[in-house]
Every structure is written in C-alpha cells, then in structure tokens.
C-alpha cells in the first residue's frame, strides 16, 4: 500500500522534474524522495570502527507482512535503523503463508546473510531448523524463546530469542487507567487470545487491582480475566471496524479508559474513544507518534522496544558478540516502557507511577 | 423511400453467411423474405440494421449509398426493426417504453410523459393498433407487446420496417390481426420486410417474395405461387408438405392422466383437473396457445413436477410419484418444449448429447466408466440415420442450426424402445426439410405401437399429425375433436370459447388472445 503511494508520489515528481529538465548527478543512484522517511536513525554513528559494509542483515516477516503497522513493521524498523547506523547491507523477504517460512529463510541464507531476524512465534520451528543447518549465520527471533519444561533456554548458540515483558509497563498502564477513570470501569481487548497479546492485558488487570488495593476503590476491568483466560478479542489484527465496535460496546458498558491490544485493529478502539470522549492507552509504540490523530485521547502508551532489540541483536552479531541468551525487554533495561504521559495525568499520579516502576525494577512487585 | 441492396456479402471466417445478395424494397410494399433457419436471413437483416458490417457490397437508400455503423444510423435513415425477442422493459408503460432512449424533457429534466402518451395514441389510432399508452407492458399479451415494438419503430419515423419472424410467438388470431396491421401500414406508405419460413403467411400478405437459401437469393416469386413451389425453392428439392400416414391402429390405453392438477410456485393453478388417455398406436395432439398449462402438464407426465392432485398411470401403474429418471427408464420418450433450455446441453458435443439420458445404460457404461467406443458408434449411427448436419460428432450442439439441434434431441429419444412418446413443439424453429423428417419419424413411432402425445401451438402441425386433438385453455382441456374439424373451430377453442360457447371470442382475455372473432362459425 505504501508502495502504491510511493509510486504515485514518484510519478508526480517525475512529471515535475521532466519539465524542469534536471541535472545528472555524479552518482545517479541517490534519490532523496525515496529514502525511507520512517527511518529515525538517532545514532548515525560516524565512528569508522562502527561501520560494517560487508555485513548483511536480513529479515523474514510472518504472514502479516512488513506493512502491518505492528510488530513486523516495528521489527524491520529496528533492522533499518541498524543498517543505516552501521552501514550494512540489507535484504528482506515477506512471507505470505507459513508454508513459505523454510524457503524464505533458506533463500536469505543462500544470499549470504550474516544475521537473519525472523518475526513471530510462527517462525519458531523454521528458524530453529535453519539455525541448526547454518551455524555460521546468527539468527534472532522476535517474540519467541526456545525453552524446555523448566523454562531453561534450549536455543543453539546461534539463535537468540527476543522477548518482552510487556506485563510490566502494562501494569503501570493499568494503574494509570484505574486512577484516571471516573466511572470506575476500564476496558481492554485483544487481537487474538495468544500469550504475546494477553500478557499486556494481564499486566493491565494487575495494575488496576493494585490501584484498588492502594486506594480501597473498586475499579472494574472488562474484557479480560486472567484466571479463566477469557476475554474480548477481535480475532483479527487488521479490521479497524471490529476494534471500534468492540470498544464502543465497552464504552456502552461504562468503561471510560480503553486499552486495545490488537495492532491496527486497535486503532478502531482509539476512534471509538475519540467519538465517545473517553480516554485510551496505546500499545507497542508511542501512539502520539504513530497514531498522532488520536493523541488527544491517549493517557500514555505501553512501548514494546522491538526495534531497539532487533537493532541490538544485529549489532551484536556484526561485532561478533552474539550470544544465544534470551533477550527479555524489561522496564529495567528499557526494552519496554511507558511513553510520556499526557497532561490528563497529574503530577501526583505520575510520581506514584514512577515509584511503582522502581518497585518493579527492584523486584518488590512481581508482574505477569 | 426505396431500399436497395447490392451484392451484399458477409463472411464469418471461412463461412459465407450471405453471398452477393441483391434486393430492392420498393416504397409501400410488403416484401417477404422466405428461407429456412440458417439460410442467412437474420445475418442480412443485421447488416441492414447496422448490427453487422458487410464484408462486401453496399446498401442504398433512395439511390444513395449508406454505411450503418450502428443501429442508430439505421434508425436515422428510416429503418425500423422488430426483433423476434422483444426489447421492452416490462414494468414500464407503453408510452415510457416508446420514449426510452429518446426521452423528451420539459425544462429541468422533467420527462414529458404526456407528449409520449400523445404520440403513442396518435400512432395507435392512425395505424389502428389499439394500444393503450398507459398500460404496463408486462400486463399486455404477446401480440400487443409486438405492436408496441412496431409503435417504437414508427415513433422513430421508420419508412422501412423489418419484422423478424413476427408470427412465431402469436396465436392464429393474433397472426390475422398482425396481417391486418401490415396491410394498414402498407396502405399508408411504409415498406415492410417480412421475414418468415411459413408459407401460408407469405402467400396471405406478401406483395413480392424473395427466397434465400444458403446465403443466396435463389429466386423471387409471386404470392400466387403454390406452397409446394415455394417450399421447393426454399429447401432446394421437392418437399412433402402433408404427412403421409395410414389410419391409426389404436390399441390399449398406455398413459392415463386422471384429474391432474398442478400449482406453480407462485400458487397459481396452471393445470386444472386434466384427464385424458393416450393409447398405443395413436397420436394425441394437444393444441393450445402458449402458456395455457401445456408446459406444466407434460412436465408432470415425466415427473419433472409432481402433480398437486390427481394421478398419472403408465401401463396400469401409478407413476405420479416417480421422478424423471424412473419415467425415462420405464419407456417414456420426452422431447421438451424448449430444447435449448431442457433438451440438450449446448456446450456438450453432439456425441454426448445423443446419450444425455442413456449414458447409464449398460450399453454405454460399464460400472462407473463410460464406454466411449459405444457412445461414438451410437453417435455415428444416429447422425447418419437422422441426417444430423454437423461438422463432426464433437461439434457442440449449440453450434448447430435449430433444426439439427432438434434432430439431436429427437434422435436420442427415438433410440430406445418407447411405450409413450411425449413431444412438445417437436418442430419449433425447425426448417421445412427437417419438419418433414421429424414428422415422418413420429408417425413411424406411432405405427410401431407407441402412444404419442404431441403438444403444439402450431395448428398446422396438430392437424397434420394427430389422430385425436385435445385443446387446452387456461389449464383445462376445453374440448376434444378429430382432425376433420374446421381450423376455425379449434382456433376458437384455443381462444377460450368452449363447444357450448359458440357466441364468439368475446370471453377471450388474460393469457388468451384479444380475438376479433374473425372466422367464427
């Protein structure tokens, strides 16, 4: 879709520049209009020891594709950031369905990739199989870890799981939501009843419970019950309308803070919040950046630093410091965090949240 | 205006549909174009009407060459056409249909319905068409709908009117009325090209007759020519117009309908308490205007629809609950009324269609597998026996002419031992040569001792074949007769006048005709 927009933009540009009869550049490769505009390389390192022109960093998406406005996209952002910052080569392959995973990884191996990042638990088997066959390639996989029954890491030396304890910031988000609610009801819904989604919702519920304990209130959460593992799900990560109707239903039941964990479908939840003048909390990225039009309803966002994690894993591989140790994004290492609060969250509450965050980091509160 | 065609030729690939046709249509004449199905009449007319480009030759209007890129050009030049299949919008009124495509508006895009109504009324009165501009087309009988088509052409100021097989859908009375209208149009200066393959009609109304055969004009004739002469020109050999048959050797009752009533899905009783007996060795003709229950009646005989009341007995067994498969296997032969709809699978080859209801038999199948050899042998034999004109046995039936399509259906149904043959419209849209052949085979089947039931809207056919005639009107059998009854009487019965209601056609309404009572005894 973005491609289409780009082609359209380019066509316009062509029309304009043809009439202008431009000059040939010495190196006719660079086109400023087509550098990825989303790249926000904060650390364009000039240090020559930090440049790896011979290193090829690669990625395979799951069937959501790279333009999913969700974890595939954020993960690739991390790859792009690494490629820009450290002058690497890049290759990406998008998967259409799970039967292609093996082929897609093998294709990248055969193209000489040094590091291959796969996105999502569905690629777990394929990634492991490829890693066993190609010991000289470093693999990292987003949102997945290889563990045995006891929870110990079973990954081979060249595979790194990248996981995120999003329950921690979600806990803070739940507390914030409960404290901001006037109706005493807050709502959350997920895209699909899978662990990477429900971990947010569970943290959120625990945050609300903590608020109730601390203040003796009785704020209710609708949409998720960690005990029975049942709740509201759109069963779709794409359809905004589903998110909107789910959220509207919750608002009708009295909820005045909505916490959608459903990728782009969750945008519908923000729309519903905006339409009904209630508040919401976004996930994965800072909603005030990625979904700016809804910034006014957002109290904060639960950020899942997949881009940072991917970038770090790629850099570690390039620097020969790769390990199979599972990466867990936490509040402590800032792999997960809360986005800046809106003005609706007063300083007192902000201070409380900061305090809670420290308690989590210190292990005084266990979440999840 | 005078319309002249010079050397008009149209080819489709290697096939020449029209080959150097010369024709002149003089002002105020009824020029009949006589030819069998597939002779090239429609191709010629489609070129005249701008629907097809000629490969060679020219069209002249009043001596000036013209080229019609589309029907709009032809209409502008004063040519009007009434197709076999009407181009009307059923839920619209007559006036609305007439102004369709040439809507006149009064200021601000308001349709000027009144002007359209006025125009229809004027034309209707001037040519004595008796059409109410405010009537809904869907409520009108077919004959009147046809007149609406004529009005449409006249509203476009047509000077030459092409009528493509206009009588195919009409009752005998309606045909008489149409002929009256044609004469009226001629009297007021409109020329008419009258396309038909019915000899009786050209002799009744034509001023001049051009006969087309295999894409060429093979001659012209005067209306005084005999039917036999015309038929010979048309077919290219002498044709026997009267079915040659001996007296029937009537045997035992074979098929019996007892108080059969059929209700259609809309809840209308379409067959009302019909009883009859078909006997071995006899042809029972069921006459009637289309849409008076014959379709449903014979469908119920085969088991395609279940009678809602009454019983059907075959050889002393009640078969009312049997489906078509069992009835076919019990020895009922069935030639459906609308062959392209029910009789054959158009995309199937001739070979396949010849076993469409026989492929399960041991002759053509062993276990789950078809016996291709036997099916091919059968095809070869039937094509030969029934003189089916097809390029190969693999040619799809949809590519054959109507007559040959019908021969495929007839050949199939005649290729197994029958107790009863039910044939509906056995020769509709079939050329004269094939009619002769099919009629002969039907009589042969009768002489083998099969009970034959013929349903036809063509009185000629009913008279030619039947040993007994039953007339259906409004779902009932309103009378039975022998073929020596005068045509007019059967015509009246078809229009709803029963034996006891000789007062005339005044009662004819609805699905029947608007008979003028012409020819009442």
């Amino acid at each position: 879709m973005k491609k289409t927009a780009r082609i359209a933009a380019v066509a316009t540009m062509v029309a304009l520049s043809l009439s202008a009869c431009g000059e040939r550049e010495t190196d006719a490769g660079e086109d400023p209009a087509s550098t990825p505009s989303e790249s926000t390389s904060e650390s364009a390192s000039a240090d020559p020891s930090q440049q790896f022109p011979d290193f090829k960093a690669c990625m395979v998406s799951d069937s959501g594709g790279f333009d999913d406005k969700s974890f595939n996209q954020t993960s690739r952002q991390g790859l792009r950031d690494a490629v820009e910052a450290y002058g690497m080569q890049e290759a990406d392959i998008e998967s259409n369905d799970p039967s292609e995973f093996n082929d897609n990884i093998n294709e990248l191996v055969s193209q000489g990739c040094n590091s291959i990042t796969t996105v999502g638990f569905l690629l777990g088997d394929s990634t492991l199989a490829a890693a066993k066959k190609n010991k000289d390639v470093d693999f990292s996989i987003v949102d997945f870890a290889y563990t045995d029954d006891k929870g110990d890491n079973t990954a081979p030396a060249n595979v790194k799981g990248l996981t995120f304890n999003t329950a921690e910031p979600s806990f803070l988000a739940g507390y914030t939501a409960a404290a901001s609610s006037e109706s005493g009801v807050v709502g959350t819904f997920g895209g699909l009843n899978i662990p990477t989604v429900t971990i947010f919702m569970t943290g959120f519920v625990q945050g609300v419970e903590r608020y109730n304990e601390d203040t003796g209130s009785d704020v209710q959460v609708i949409g998720w019950d960690p005990e029975s593992a049942e709740g509201s799900f759109t069963n779709d990560f794409e359809d905004k309308n589903l998110g909107q109707s789910t959220a509207t239903e919750m608002i009708n039941q009295g909820a005045d803070v909505i916490f959608p964990v459903a990728g782009p479908a969750g945008l519908g939840g923000l729309q519903a919040a905006q339409d009904n003048d209630v508040k919401a909390i976004w996930v994965d990225t800072d909603g005030c950046v990625s979904a700016e039009e809804y910034c006014d309803v957002l109290l904060t966002s639960v950020m899942k630093g997949m881009d940072v994690a991917v970038q770090d894993a790629v850099l570690a591989s390039a620097e020969d410091e790769f390990s199979n140790e599972v990466y867990v994004g936490t509040l402590e290492n800032e792999g997960v965090k809360l986005a800046p609060f809106s003005d609706d969250v007063d300083e007192e509450l902000q201070a409380t949240i900061e305090d809670l965050k420290q308690q989590i980091i210190d292990g005084e509160i266990t979440v999840g | 205006m005078e319309l002249e065609i010079r050397g008009l030729t149209r080819r489709f690939g290697s096939f020449t549909a029209n080959d150097g046709i010369d024709l002149t249509i003089r002002p105020g004449e009824i020029h009949c174009l006589l030819g069998e199905n597939g002779a090239g009449k429609s191709t010629l007319m489609n070129m005249l009407y701008g629907l097809l480009d000629p490969s060679e030759g020219e069209i002249l209007v009043d001596g000036e060459p013209v080229a019609f890129a589309s029907p709009a050009d032809a209409i502008a030049a004063g040519i009007g056409m009434v197709h076999q299949h009407f181009m009307l919008v059923p839920p619209f009124t007559v006036a609305e249909n007439v102004m369709l495509g040439r809507e006149r508006t009064r200021g601000l895009g308001v349709l000027d319905r009144k002007a359209a109504s006025r125009l229809v009324r004027e034309l209707s009165e001037r040519y004595r068409l008796a059409v109410d501009p405010e009537a809904l087309v869907e409520d009108l009988p077919v004959g009147v709908q046809q007149r609406v088509e004529i009005i449409k052409a006249l509203a476009n100021e047509a000077k030459v009117l092409i009528l493509d097989e206009p009588t195919a859908v009409l009752t005998p009375q309606e045909i008489d009325e149409l002929m009256g209208i044609m004469r009226e149009l001629r009297a007021q200066g409109t020329s008419i090209i009258f396309i038909t393959h019915k000899l009786r009609e050209v002799r009744a109304v034509g001023d001049r007759i051009s006969v087309i055969r295999r894409g060429k004009v093979v001659g012209t004739a005067e209306p005084t020519a005999s039917e036999a002469e015309l038929a010979e020109m048309m077919v290219g050999r002498s044709v026997q117009l009267v079915v040659d048959k001996a007296a029937a050797a009537v045997g035992e009752p074979v098929l019996e309908a007892r108080n059969v009533t059929v209700i259609d899905p809309r809840g209308h009783q379409v067959v009302k308490d019909v009883s009859f007996v078909a006997r071995a060795g006899e042809v029972l003709g069921i006459a009637g205007v289309q849409g008076n229950g014959q379709t449903e009646l014979i469908k119920s005989l085969l088991g395609l629809v279940r009678p809602d009341a009454g019983e059907i007995w075959l050889d002393g067994r009640d078969i009312s609950r049997h489906g078509p498969r069992q009835s076919l296997e019990d020895g009922i032969g069935y030639v459906p009324e609308d062959r392209s709809h029910d009789g054959y699978v158009g995309s199937f080859s001739v070979r396949e269609n010849l076993v469409l209801d026989l492929f399960r038999s041991e002759r053509f199948a062993s276990g789950p597998a078809l016996r291709l050899g036997a099916i091919e042998a059968n095809a070869r034999q039937r094509i030969e026996e029934f003189d089916i004109r097809t390029e190969t046995m693999e040619t799809p039936v949809s590519a054959l002419s109507g007559g040959n399509q019908q021969k495929v259906v007839v050949a199939r149904e005649f290729s197994r031992p029958l107790k009863v043959l039910i044939a509906s419209q056995p020769t509709r849209g079939v050329d004269v040569g094939s009619i002769e052949f099919i009629h002969k085979r039907i009589v042969e089947e009768r002489d083998k001792g099969t009970a034959v039931i013929i349903v036809s809207t063509e009185l000629d056919e009913v008279f030619a074949l039947s040993d007994r005639i039953a007339v259906m009107y409004d779902g009932r059998i309103v009378g039975t007769a022998t073929p020596d009854i005068p045509r007019e009487e059967i015509g009246l019965m078809m229009a709803g006048a029963t034996d006891t209601d000789q007062a005339g056609a005044t009662g004819a309404t609805g699905a029947g005709t608007h008979g003028t009572g012409g020819g009442a005894a």
């Binding site: 082609i7 066509a11 043809l18 009869c21 000059e23 040939r24 006719a28 069937s63 790279f66 290759a91 392959i93 259409n96 369905d97 799970p98 039967s99 292609e100 995973f101 093996n102 082929d103 093998n106 294709e107 055969s110 394929s126 029954d149 009843n193 899978i194 069963n235 | 690939g13 096939f15 549909a17 597939g38 002779a39 429609s42 489609n46 701008g50 629907l51 589309s70 029907p71 495509g101 195919a168 395609l304 296997e329 609308d338 392209s340 709809h341 029910d342 699978v345 199937f348 080859s349 469409l356 209801d357 492929f359 078809l370 097809t390 390029e391 949809s398 590519a399 054959l400 509709r428 849209g429």
Partner: protein
C-alpha cells in the same frame, strides 16, 4: 483438448444464424452460468504475457536508480533506458532463476505448486458441476487440523501414520465441502455465500481447537500445534516431498472422473445446463453434494502438503492463501485438470521466483502477488486483452456485442 468448443481457432461451425425464438427467449432467464467465466487457452496465455509486461513497467517505476535518472532524462535519456532495462532484466532473471534455476529452485516451485494444483482441482471440479467453490480455504483449514491431530497425537508406524493422517484430512475436507453441497441441494442456499461463511467458521473452529491443551505444545499457550511426528511426514527426496506426485495423481483421477466416468458426465451436464440434466433424469442435488464433497477431498489433499509435507505443525494460517489462489489457478486453467496443473505450476513458479526477486533483485515482495493479480484481472477481462492484442471476437456473437444494441 477435451474442450473443442472453445477457442477462436475453432471455425464458426455451420451456422452463425441460429437465433431461433426459444433460444433468444431463453437467454435472459439463464441462471448464473459458471462456465461463462472460463477463459480460452489464448486468453490465458495472453493474460500471462500482458501481466508480465505491466509487471515490467511496475519494476521500472519502483526502482530507485531508474527514477533517479528521470530528472535529467532529456540530457541523458540513455541512462533511463539502460537502468530500466537492467532493473527489468535483473528482476525477471531472478524470477526465472528462483523458480527454474537449479534443483533447489525447482523443488521450491514444485512444492509450492502441489497444494495449488490440488486445491485448484477442487475448485475446477466444482466449477464443472456449476458450483463456484470459494470454500477451499475453509476446507483446507479443517482438513489441516484433522491431519495435524492424527500426525502429532497418534503413534503409528512410519508410512502408515502419514497415510492415516492423509485420510483424516481427506475425510475432514469431504465433510466440510459436502455440507455446502447439502445446503445447496436441500435449501438452495447459494454456494458462494455458504462457502465464504464456512471459511470464517473454519478459522474459528481451528482457533478453538488450537486453544485446547491437547492441540498445543507443552508449556505453551501459543496457537501453534506440536510438530507432526516424523513418522507422519511425507517421504522426500532432498526437500522435494511427495506432494507433487500426489497432485499429479489427483489431476489424473479428476481427469478420468470428468471425461471418462458416468459421474463426471453427470457433473458436467448439471454444470452446463441443470434443466436439461434434470430432464434427462439426472439428480441435480445429488451431483451438487457429490461435487462439493470431492472438492473438499481435493482441498484436504492440498493442505496435507503443508502439514505433512514441510511445515509440520498446525496454526490458523496453515492454509495460507492457497485456498483463494486456487480459485485463480482453476480459472486460469480453464477448469480443466491439465490446465489446472499448468496454472498451478505457473503460480508455484511465480511464488518461488518472487522470493528471489525480493531477496536477490530487491524488488518489492508485492510484485509477484501483483503479477498474479494482474493475471486474474486480464483473465477476467478477456475483451480487454483481446482488444490490446487486436484479436477478433468469436464469430458473430462478440461483434454484435461489441457494437451493442445502440438503437
């Protein structure tokens, strides 16, 4: 081949003037006619050619180097053409290389073609019986669940295990497809509606089961089944598994069924003209149920390629987009077994080659899908393609159509 009536090559046989009144009258009340969507061989080939041409243009205008040469196009026009040529050349070279260049590429093509062929055969078969089967996706999902369950739960000897898992898939597919036939036969419910609905239902059925402990990996709540036991996976030479062999066998069976069996005769007759079929004593409802059941069997076979062939575990995406691509494959293959095999191979190659285009030539991943979409578009609009290539219509019919009833 088995279809002599199609194709402009066939001479306009005997009679261009066969418009008798009944046929004309019958035309408007003709029901939905699936066969009207079947293209000719020429249409199919031209559609592919045209899609490649449009694809080339898209490659040109989405390659940065080419675009970079445009601002000075009038000074150095050669740059543009050189870069454009290289981009298209590289892209299509990668396409060919990735699909046909070497054993790995061929394996990939065949492995991807196999499920497309099987599911495509299911769509084709239903199509020939006059049914628009949009439901291969749902049939595959349910069948995949069944095959997977047998594959990772039961304990059977190698070979037999795969066979039983395969049969489970076929039975599940048959049931899921047969229901649609039954609904159509009994209630007249249109199969397009019911198949689409059942696709959704199938996905939720699969999700429901994947939520159960018995269908999940130990210590995991992910909606991902355990891998199928080795004893239940298809034998393979290198990476090339049994799938393509099964697909070709299935095509042979379907061909025999359609062209040589009484059942196929009935199905084709019902598909082409249900009224005539009924009048000839065939049971239209029975044919509908049979055809949809067999279509479900074929869709079930398709999904075993994924579950028992290479992927080895069940998720709600186990069918990928194969169930929908199968419709395209069937259409492109003119709903004939041979055509479906060829179209399936083509799409398998496009998919396999598209991968190399992405990886090696850096062409947007969407392009191979755009190529497929373009092929569909051009197949669906034969008049457009014919117009572009200036091919005359089929005899009188289309020329009349083209000029219209402008009066």
């Amino acid at each position: 081949m088995s279809d002599p009536q199609k194709g402009p090559a066939a001479p306009p046989v005997v009679d261009p003037e066969r418009v008798d009144p009944h046929e004309a009258a019958a035309a408007p009340r003709r029901r939905f006619d699936a066969s009207a969507f079947v293209p000719t061989v020429v249409d199919s080939v031209l559609a592919v050619v045209l899609a490649l041409v449009v694809g080339a243009v898209l490659i040109v205008f989405s390659t940065e180097r080419v675009l970079g040469s445009l601002p000075y196009f009038f000074s150095y026009p050669w740059d543009f053409f050189r870069f454009a040529g290289e981009a298209v050349g590289d892209g299509y070279a990668a396409l060919v290389n990735g699909s046909l260049g070497g054993a790995d590429a061929l394996t990939r093509t065949l492995n991807r073609a196999a499920p497309l062929i099987c599911a495509g055969l299911g769509v084709s078969l239903a199509f020939r019986a006059g049914l628009f089967n949009i439901g291969a996706q749902g049939q595959m999902l349910v069948a995949g669940l069944a095959a997977g369950y047998v594959g990772f739960t039961w304990d059977l000897p190698t070979g037999l295990h795969a066979l039983v898992a395969l049969l489970a898939a076929l039975v599940a597919g048959a049931l899921w497809g047969g229901v649609i036939g039954l609904l159509k036969a009994r209630t007249g419910a249109h199969e397009v509606i019911t198949t689409i609905m059942l696709n959704n239902v199938a996905r939720f059925v699969v999700l429901y089961f994947l939520g159960l402990e018995a269908f999940q990996r130990p210590n995991s709540d992910n909606k991902l089944s355990p891998p199928v036991d080795d004893s239940a996976t298809f034998p393979a030479i290198g990476n090339l598994h049994l799938g393509i062999v099964l697909a070709v066998l299935a095509a042979l069976v379907v061909w025999w069924l359609l062209e040589r069996s009484t059942l196929g005769f009935e199905m084709r007759a019902v598909g082409a003209n249900p009224d005539a079929a009924r009048t000839a004593g065939m049971s239209v409802p029975r044919v509908y149920v049979t055809a949809m059941t067999l279509a479900g069997v074929l869709a079930g076979l398709a999904v075993t390629m994924t579950v028992l062939g290479q992927q080895n575990s069940v998720t709600d995406q186990v069918a990928g987009t194969v169930g929908f691509d199968a419709i395209t494959v069937a259409l492109l293959g003119r709903a004939t077994p041979v055509g479906t095999v060829l179209a399936g191979l083509l799409f398998g190659a496009l998919s396999a080659g598209g991968l190399s285009m992405q990886g090696a030539a850096g062409i947007a991943p969407e392009l191979s899908q755009v190529l497929q979409a373009l092929i569909v578009l051009f197949v669906a609009a034969p008049a457009l393609v014919r117009g572009i290539f200036r091919i005359k219509g089929r005899g009188q019919g289309s020329s009349v159509e083209a000029k219209g009833w402008g009066g």
